[in-house]
Symmetry: C2
């Protein structure tokens, strides 16, 4: 996974464990594509201070993932959902009864919309 994408997902998963200010800086850098200089102007501090904050927060996010593995579990859950959809598709291929087809649609909708971490 590309680092920017990975950090953006880790921010979704663990951002609440950072301070509001740390979260805002990480969001500007990884999601809004602001430069270090732009973020340092907004925060009225040095480019170096922002660089250090980003480096420290990045390490913290990786450490949370090492310990809680929520990103890893999310990837596994997505794989399991795909496996279930594949099994449902096999049943759909075999049946003609439209009321059962409707029930399978309900199951697929619940799977897609309600199962996530």
């Amino acid at each position: 996974m590309e680092e920017r994408v990975e950090v953006s997902i880790l921010l979704d998963l663990y951002g609440e464990l950072l301070t509001d200010n740390q979260k805002a800086i990480m969001n500007l850098y990884y999601n809004e594509d602001f430069s270090l200089s732009e973020i340092s102007e907004i925060n009225n501090t040095s480019r170096q201070a922002i660089h250090d904050t980003i480096k420290r927060c990045y390490k913290q996010l990786v450490s949370y993932e090492d310990r809680l593995n929520l990103l890893g579990k999310n990837i596994k859950l997505e794989e399991t959902k795909q496996k279930l959809e594949h099994e449902i598709a096999k049943i759909e291929d075999e049946i003609r009864d439209s009321s059962i087809k409707d029930r399978l649609e309900v199951i697929k909708k619940i799977l897609m919309e309600e199962i996530s971490i």
Copy 2:
């Protein structure tokens, strides 16, 4: 949910964010039912120190749950799994074809064994 049960689950979810020593003390108190005096003897410290550690760790676990809501999401995920099983049971009631029944069993097995946080 009873406090002891709730803390035990929070320990499963967030224990890795505590230090090894904090985790060991919380485990003895909430899972192994040791008394404060017994834990203080094992740790070669005062009963009061153990009491303070447990109180501080308890607050930390609750604070993690407030921010990440993993217990809340786990409860919701269990409800969704039950809803899916209920939908599958309705299909099982309507079909006779044993190959489709077998496919539904596969789906139920994946749901039970592979979907969790």
